[in-house]
Structure formats: structure tokens, C-alpha cells
Symmetry: C2
Subunit: 301 residues, 2 copies
């Protein structure tokens, strides 16, 4: 695979990442507001880190439908808060027991376990608060659909359900369809939600277009996980910003352990192609979505 040529995309992403950091700083509870330690821990867990892949997908989908950027900011923040809460809870000793995240001590290490539990819980509430208190659509009924969409993507039939399947899979030999089912939930659901929520902030797409966009989200979400598995097996901790080699150490099934590195890379390339095919009818408005698919598959960290 050739290295991804960043150029213009790189500056588009940087501008949005930096701008979005300010959005999060503003939307999170301020560090001097009571209860201060909890609010500081929430900010610690969300700010200054991460590639913001889900928000970038929301911004790219928003561009496709000429969405108001203030609206997409809120949708992107809600998705990112859900993602951040899942990382905080996932890192806890009773789950993955990880001490390093985005190059920093994990929340329960920097604070304590009880605080990490409450940080995750509070970030989830805040995500739904944001979607309910800001105007995201001219139609309030559409806004309710957006809230439902994020709730389903986060819950037991989405991300949290995928984590439960993940827990049950430790030490087991999964088939490829079982592994795919797990990741479509664990990682895929929220990535799909990011694309859909971004698109819901602007002009309505018809059902066929929305279906194609959702297929794009599904392919990119799965590709993201396949690439994650490859990187986890090949990269080192300092590049990754989180503990490398954890999957093998914990005897978790991954695309690499199941297929081998070469076939996993091949699978990522196929998903990449499927994702781009899904956008074929969208013209130049989908440019950033295409570039994000490239970035997700060809990234090195």
C-alpha cells in the first residue's frame, strides 16, 4: 500500500481538530465548577488527546449536506464524549486494566477507580444533554431521531453490547463472522453514528443516499478495527500512545490472529474499496469522507 498523501486533507483535519478542541473545552463542565475533582477528571479524560476520527467523520458528513458547523460541533461532541467515556471504563482494572491512553496515565490511574467510573457515567449523560439542549435540526422530530440513533449505537445493541461480546470472547476461538459481529458493535456502531449524525445536521438525504452513507460508515468502522488490530500487533507502545501487544497478551481474538497480518491487510483494503464505492454517487461533496477512509486505512498510528 502506498503511504497516504496528506496535503490539503492534513490541513483540513488539523483545522477541525484544533477548532474542535475549543468546542470541547467550552462544552465540558469548567474545572472550577463543583464537584471540581470530577469535572477536572472529565476534562482530563476528553481533552488534549485522540485523533478525533469520529468528529472528523461527522464534519465530513456535515460538509456533504452543507450543514451548519455549529450544529455539527454538537453532534460531533456528543459522539466523542460517548467514545471518551467508553475508553475510561474500558481501561478500568475490571475491564482491560490499562495504564496508558493517548500517551498519558489512564483516568483511574491519574485519579482513582471510583472517579473513573463516575467520569464515564457523567460523560455519557453529558452527550445526551448536548443533543437535547442545542438545536441540531429545523425539525425537532429529526433531533429526537438523532438522540435515539446515538443511544442505540451506545447501548447494549451497540458499543456496550460489542464490549460484552468482547469480554466473553477472551480465550475463545471466534469465527470470522463472530469477530465481525463483535466489531460491528464495539467499534463500528459509534463510527456509523458519527457519519449519520453529521449528515442529519444538514439538508435531508433520501433513503437510498442515507443507506449508501451508512454502508460507507459500516465499512470504515470495520476497516478501522482491522487496521487497529494490525497496528496493535506491529507497532510499539510509544508510537501507539497506548499499550501495544495487549490483544495477544490477553489472548483476545483479532483479525491478525484469525487471518494473519497479510490477509488482515487485504481485508482492510477491500473494506476501503467498498467504502469508496458506497460514495460513488455523491460527487465532490463527499471528498473529505473519501479522504478520511484513506486516512483510516493507511494510518500508521
Amino acid at each position: 500500500m502506498p503511504d497516504f498523501q496528506r496535503g490539503d486533507f492534513q490541513s483540513w483535519a488539523s483545522v477541525h481538530q484544533s477548532r474542535f478542541e475549543d468546542v470541547l473545552r467550552r462544552l465540558l463542565p469548567q474545572p472550577d465548577a463543583a464537584p471540581q475533582r470530577l469535572h477536572q477528571a472529565m476534562r482530563y479524560s476528553v481533552l488534549d488527546g485522540g485523533k478525533r476520527v469520529r468528529p472528523l467523520l461527522a464534519f465530513a458528513a456535515g460538509e456533504l449536506v452543507n450543514a451548519n458547523i455549529e450544529r455539527v460541533n454538537i453532534a460531533a461532541a456528543a459522539v466523542e464524549l460517548i467514545h471518551a467515556y467508553s475508553l475510561v471504563h474500558d481501561d478500568m482494572p475490571c475491564m482491560d486494566n490499562d495504564v496508558l491512553r493517548r500517551g498519558k496515565p489512564t483516568c483511574h490511574v491519574e485519579y482513582d477507580e471510583a472517579t473513573a467510573l463516575l467520569v464515564g457515567d457523567s460523560l455519557q449523560s453529558l452527550a445526551f444533554q448536548l443533543l437535547a439542549e442545542h438545536q441540531l435540526s429545523d425539525e425537532t422530530s429529526r433531533q429526537l431521531r438523532m438522540i435515539k440513533l446515538l443511544a442505540v449505537a451506545s447501548g447494549s445493541r451497540g458499543m456496550a453490547g460489542g464490549q460484552a461480546i468482547d469480554l466473553d470472547s477472551v480465550g475463545k476461538k471466534l469465527s470470522l463472522p463472530e469477530l465481525e459481529f463483535m466489531h460491528i458493535h464495539k467499534t463500528g456502531a459509534l463510527i456509523r453514528a458519527a457519519v449519520q449524525l453529521g449528515a442529519h445536521c444538514g439538508a435531508a438525504l433520501d433513503a437510498v443516499q442515507m443507506g449508501r452513507l451508512d454502508h460507507f460508515g459500516k465499512c470504515v468502522g470495520l476497516a478501522f478495527q482491522v487496521v487497529d488490530d494490525v497496528l496493535d500487533s506491529e507497532a510499539d507502545t510509544s508510537t501507539l500512545g497506548k499499550t501495544a501487544g495487549k490483544d495477544a497478551e490477553q489472548d483476545k481474538p483479532t483479525y491478525v490472529t484469525l487471518l494473519g497480518a497479510q490477509a488482515a491487510k487485504q481485508m482492510a483494503a477491500e473494506l476501503h474499496r467498498d467504502a469508496l464505492d458506497a460514495l460513488a454517487g455523491f460527487g465532490d461533496g463527499a471528498r473529505r469522507l473519501r479522504e478520511l477512509a484513506d486516512f483510516i486505512v493507511l494510518r500508521k498510528f
Copy 2:
């Protein structure tokens, strides 16, 4: 204090409790749907237990405004799912480390800690899903306000924030205002939300009436905690259905340790009176709310 005379109220409450159990059984993910273990643990943590005080408050507030019972069912379920999630997380080893809840092993004892974490997370998502996917009001904008209301009541400025203050208070000597601040968040926020959400399901009250109803909720919420503290210091584990005497053992400040049992009972009586005063203008429609205030203050478990 005289014993609370139940009579007609008792049968009203029983009918709603039993009916509401069916509502929860229907709204929770079915036990045979994947991921099964997570869904079974969610049902284990919510069903067959609890006095359902918050749902009863929602039903009573719904009666005040002639609300459609199907709508109040959903609002009540959302509040109860948030309450249930908070108990599951609260009982975990990194929080209160409790093994008994509603007379049964706590979720992390019956299942495991990782599952308990995901059960709580998923119950929270489901609460917001319910509020977004069912019609609760003729005005969708009012429904968005209801979602915001529950999110704020649950998050870092509500229930979860109160728990954070509670954690920080272990081993400290709090003043009465500090203890009150903690409980207005930890217990009070969700009880107030239950009353308000029930009232939002029916004919709109004016701002003054809504303010009175909210004051009722605030008084009842605080009285609930004061009575809880008294019961914890006096009852035994089998009556309580959860481990008695935990507060003293964990050196947590309570109304009893701060004021003494007698003054704490006096405080509950005053809050009871304030709660009833707040309903003075409402006539017979508020009858069940009054009876619930009586029940909450005069209960023995």
C-alpha cells in the same frame, strides 16, 4: 410519628408497581437477544425489586395533569433505569463494595465486575433511547426538554456529581449545608426529575405551578435521604434488603451522625410538611403525591 395508614393508597401503589413491572419487562432487552449475558444481567438488575418510588412519583405527577399513562410509563421507566444503573455502579467494589441489594446478590457478585460496568452503561443509554423513541408529548420541543432534564439530573451536576461529593466526604466532617448539597444532588436530583417528567407528560402547568411541584420534589427527595439515614442506623439488614449500618462502618457523614437520630427525624417531619405545603393549591389531583410524601417519610424500610 403515627404509622402511615395505607388503605386506598396501598392498593393504588400495588397496582402501579405490578403494572410497571410488566412495562419494564417489555422495555428491557429480551434475555434471549444477543448479547444474552449482558441482557440477562440488565434484567436481573432492574426487575423484581425495589419500591419503585421514582416511578410512583411520576405516576402521581402524571395523574395531577391527566397524562396519558402510556407516556408516563416511558418517563417512569427512563428514570428507574437511571436509578437502577446508579445502584449497579454504586455497589461495585471501587465504590461502596456492597454484596446485597434488594435482598439479592448485587450485579457484580451475581455476574462479574466487567458485566456490572456494562450493565450500568447500557441501562443509561436505554433510558435516553426510551425518551427519544416514544412520543411523550404533543410538542416535540417539550420532549427535548424532558431529555435534557433527565440528562442534567443524572450527570455531573446531578446524581453522579452527588456521588462524587459523597466519595470525597468519607472520613470528613461536613456541615449541614454541605451534607444537604450532597444529597440534593445524589438522591434529590433524580426524585425531582421523576416528578417533573411525570408532569411533563400531561397538560402544561404554568411556571408558578411547575415551581411549586418542583419544590415538592426537592423536599421529598431530601426527606427520602434523611429517612434513609435514620433507617440505615436503626434497621437490620433483613428488613432493609441491603446491608444495614454501612454508613457508620464507612465513616460517611449522615443526617443521623450530624444531627442525632431525634433531630434527623424532626428534620424529616419538617420537610414532609414543606412538601405538603407546596401542593396546597393543587386540590384533589395531587392526592397521590401527598400520599407518596407520607409514605416516603413514614416508611419503615
